[in-house]
Symmetry: C2
Subunit: 168 residues, 2 copies
């Protein structure tokens, strides 16, 4: 991509690929991810939940009626681990698990009213952080941010990400 041009004004100097630049990028990811999760973590702690619950709630909200298996693929954990989280959410009345209609082995997962309320609280807080960062950085930086993140994903995760995108 745009490597060759020696006289291009775009800055093809490859200086952005030095080990030092890459290391800074690694550290930026580390510190930024801390900020990214900080606000939801606080809310979750109040309710006695953790990040695992947040992830389940997020993707159930994103794809209502999704199956356990689909969630497993997206989250990349074992069914035992996910099941423990789902069980507590179901017991607490935040998630509803309905037997599948087409295939009765499957369970379709939905947020209840209370589940949706917690999801809204979590995602409002997390979006506020993102909005502030986006606004500070500006639209061009945001486009670059998204491009790099997508290039950083494993192919399978990129597929999931794309599937969520089109599911708007």
């Amino acid at each position: 991509m745009a490597e060759g041009g020696a006289g291009t004004p775009g800055g093809e100097s490859l200086l952005f690929l030095t080990d030092e630049q890459l290391r800074k990028g690694i550290e930026a990811m580390f510190f930024a991810y801390r900020g990214f999760t900080a606000d939801p973590d606080r809310i979750l702690a109040e309710q006695g939940y953790g990040r695992a619950h947040h992830r389940a709630i997020h993707f159930i909200n994103r794809s209502p009626g999704t199956t356990v298996n689909n969630l497993l693929n997206i989250l990349g954990v074992t069914k035992q681990s996910l099941n423990r989280v789902l069980r507590s959410l179901i017991e607490d009345g935040l998630v509803e698990s309905r037997v599948g209609t087409r295939d009765k082995r499957e369970r379709n997962l939905y947020l209840t009213g209370r589940g949706a309320a917690l999801e809204a609280e979590l995602s409002t807080a997390q979006r506020a952080r993102m909005r502030q960062a986006y606004r500070t950085a500006g639209p061009e930086a945001v486009a670059g941010f998204r491009t790099v993140l997508e290039a950083m994903m494993d192919p399978e995760m990129r597929r999931h990400f794309a599937a969520l995108k089109e599911a708007t």
Copy 2:
């Protein structure tokens, strides 16, 4: 980003701040972070270590002679948690802990040869992932990526990040 919507040249259309855009950014962070940690995680698992060990090794390598307290501030964990990790690294001969010269209460931490070797293996793998993503995305995207990440950090983390930057 040529968001040439309403005819305004600057592209201040704010479309990049919609809840939908923010949600995509949140999911991109989630999936990308998985990729970001995947390669080191594999290497660490072979050696019986985890991400906590990686973090300690990374920042000791980054700031040789750093104190335990400084590491605590950067990593944002309790001393008990960090100590458990440091102890195993010291016992295994990857980290050396020297009594401070100026203040003998402090311990100055250094990587041993073997510690540096593991650090190199981990950071080479992680840099390779970053390099691939950076190269795919291009220098302008990388600049935006870094800008957004920095804006996403908590102020205190941003201070630590900046301190590491100048410590080049």
